[in-house]
Amino acid sequence: MINFSYTIWIPLLPFLMFLLLGLAGHKLKPKLSGLLGTGGLGLITILSYVTAFKYFFTSEKVDGAYQKIIASNFTWLQFTDKLHIDIGVLLDPISVMMLVVITTVSFMVHIYSLGYMKGEKGFERFFAFLSLFSFSMLGLVLATNIFQMYIFWELVGVSSFLLIGFYYQKPSAVRASKKAFIVTRFADLGFLIGILILSFNTKTFDFITLTDPMGTAIAQGGGIAFLGLSVMTWSMIFVFMGGVGKSAMFPFHIWLPDAMEGPTPVSALIHAATMVVAGVYLVARMFPIYALSAPVALNVVAYVGAFSSLFAAVIACTQTDIKRVLAYSTISQIGYMMLALGVSGYGGHEGLGYMASMFHLFTHAMFKALLFLGAGAIIHAVHSNYMTEMGGLRKYLPITHITFLIACLTIAGIPPLSGFFSKDEILAAAFHSNKLLFAVEYAVAGLTAFYMFRLYFSVFWGKDTHYSHEPHEAPATMTIPLIILAVGSVVTGFIPFNKLVTSDGKIFESELELMIAIPSVLIGLLGIGIAYIMYRKESAVPDKLAATFKYSYKWAYNKFYMDELYLFITKKIIFRYIAEPVAWFDRHVVDATMNAIATVTQGVSYRIRGFQSGQLQKYAFVFITGAIMLSILFIYLWK
């Protein structure tokens, strides 16, 4: 047995860094705090790689399956004898894989930020928040129980809130951060309710007990029914609601595009590579329950994923803000992962979708981080977010151009880049399970290639725009992470995920299915081709098309008016028709009742004060009559 107890330092180190930078950051030189943060993260990146290596290659397997190892665990809060929140470290294939993803991307983003955020006010605050985020995200993936996950789930939410609102004097950033927090908070409500139902029925929070395929939790959970679905299904749907919120699936996707108000490295780290895939990770974590005990909930996962990926891809085709295009593309790609999980089964080749989903999560983290960091470099050079104001940048930003192109090819699924492999596995899994979903994903693959190359061509080719000042290539701190990530995007496709990360921990055989792979590459090329025609040079085609499909274009451009719908619900219904009436009711009914009691008392006393007339003889008369009456009462009547 290998000792993994040091892994507790992986989340703990960034936390200490957060405390250091948060409490003493303003006393340090900005550069020093940046380097401290980056150095700390470099350290845990190394630790993570070591852990991954030890876990996958030297830890012993039982029955051919990777074991779930509790590296450390202590009780944080005791509820009842059986229910307690532990804080600990759970190592299993997906958590180790996530460790690698998070630390790699986070490290890259840290280095990148040293250049990108240079000279910004609040530089040390930025690194403190990044450390807080890294801590929370690592705690999330290493959680040993569902409540620990919920704790860190909330913490990543708040670090995301803090980072989106980093430019706190910009009203749009403030609005976006608020929106992100509240929307995900609403989804977390579902997560919490799911946890409550789950724990009530299984009397445990512990992942290992919960997800043991032979365990009591899975066996007993299906029994009790409520409104036609088993309790386990209900709880899993609620838990998935949390995942929908965090992963920005439809209908809780609205916060993600707005979240692009944050600094670009943050978008790369949180809103592309790591935090937003937490929902996928959650479903993967609970996967045995979904697959064995709550298949209806798993279907919900599949359909939500499929719909979101299509929906977001359509919107992405019309957006002009490059970060928003990437944001919708993220939603779409995460939809893919959700779908893959949704169509997967448990164990062996059945679990192809599960493996594909994790594979795609891994590769997506690389190329999407690359895309965002590239976008950051572009914005850094041009000082604009809008691709309408860009064009012909390939001359000015050669490194960015190349790496961006690699990323675009990867996401479009062109072999032999990593996106091709992972996407292909997903399509294969969908094909074997549900033809309708397969068809949707097939179309989305084409759309993806189209909108990514629309972005690519209009930024780097297209019209030659005159810039107010000459765009220049980013400094080395920014380009090095780009290059590393580009290499990652190329090579990660060759990692044999079917031997490492599978639904039941055992190896299964999977091979490239050419019947699926070839058409998917073709449709990708088709998308690229269309984009080439339309955006390679300045052309009137896009405008014409937009004019032809005026209404559908307008709807897609306005994101199908989802924001307006939400605004209507929150502003009009909740604020105008619930909160304000409640406040009014409180003042004018409840409080008025209390005041009315006081007023009535006062009125009565004004009425009866006339008795106190100051006429001595009246008092005496009343006194004597009273005395006589009492005498009569007690002598004659009260026998």
Partner: protein, 501 residues
Amino acid sequence: MDILSLFVLIPVLTITAILLLKDTRQVRLVSAFGMGLQLLMAAVLVYLYLSARHAGNIDEMLFVKDYLWFKSLNIHYAVGVDGISVAMISLTSLVVFAGIFASWEVEILKKEFFISLILLATGVFGFFISIDLFTMFMFYELAVIPMYLLIGIWGSGPKEYSAMKLTLMLMGGSALLLVGLLGIYFNSSPDKNQLTFNILEISKVVIPLPAQRMFFPLTFVGFGVLGALFPFHTWSPDGHASAPTAVSMLHAGVLMKLGGYGAFRVAIFLMPEAAHELSWIFIILTSISVIYGAFGAIAQKDLKYINAYSSVSHCGLVLFAVLMMNQTAMTGAIIQMISHGLMTALFFGLIGMVYGRTHTRMISEMGGLMKVIPFLSVCYVIAGLASLGLPGLSGFVAEMTIFVGAFQHPELFYRIVTIIIVSSIVITAVYILRVIAILLLGPTTNEHFEHLPDAKWFEKISVITLIGSVAAIGLAPFWLSTMIGTSMHPIIERILALNPF
């Protein structure tokens, strides 16, 4: 001299010292010293308590002292603490300590202000250490009355109205409460022995069920008025809005906890059967408090009103959890009291400090304060995050304990209500973020605010004391939870033994 009576004695001595002072500038130093000593005593008490427990002392109440006071009615001055009271005493001494520093710059009638403030604290301390219903009630009244002066004299806005309203409503609650307590007293000995006010002795007998049915609602509502139970909460917004900073802190932070603590220690503990039978009514009322208070807070424009409604919501959660009558939920209720006490004291303290600088509490008139007064703003954000239940701060621990505990209730009705209650976390997030966004973030709207000074040293002491406690509970909740939980255990055992449901 026993250690518990010191908690009443130290404030009284402080008051005496203040009375004897000639120089009004020294008043605050003496107060700070007295309350600092009190805080130290609280720490000593925690230590003594834990070591006594560690040494294997399993009595229900520790450090019990009993002096006969009025023989004819068998009234005693009886004190004793368990883990719950120790926790509440620590909370009180923290909040009072912070409150003294928050009112460092009171301008008029300094002496009288600090005397009233400490008198209030005396009442609260006395309430928490008493195990005799009569003494308890006496201290309860002692805590409520100085409020009238504190708001009426040092308040702002329609202070006379607010002070009058608050005092009258609380007195109305006291009237119900007195009837309830006397009802308990006269039923405290079914076999016609000596009647008693002692909680421990009463808990050993079963009060006849008809009497419980009559006196449980009286006692519960009586305490509930102070715990802001819907619909008896309306004193809270006006009272808090008019009260000076330290008084808001003490009132929301500590005094409102008297309601929750009393409802738990007296109403539920002594009359569990009726509590179980009638809990559904009060469950409905408290859930209305929780949701309604939160929605009420969304629509407010005045910072203090927002916080007052938020207190209604959070204190509703306390009463709700107490009514669930199982160990986890009730432990959660106590943690929630402590957590909310610290958090809301922090909030009111910060609001007072912001108000002292901007001279307005209307959120629409402020904006972008983060840039101008970063220390206070960051603290405000932390307070807000604690209030909306961020893990790592105390609110999360309390709320989760309540939710998990309440959801273990065997009846479906209670679980469904729990789910409704859980949704309050979203509403809380909405109003907290709304305030933070408008008040602190964004561009600085008013040029008069460009050069406001940030926190002074005494303000920092006040704020850091509270934030430190909030974070300590949030990061390491196990000791608090264990301390309360072990004390809760015998209580729950008794409730269940009398009442097998």
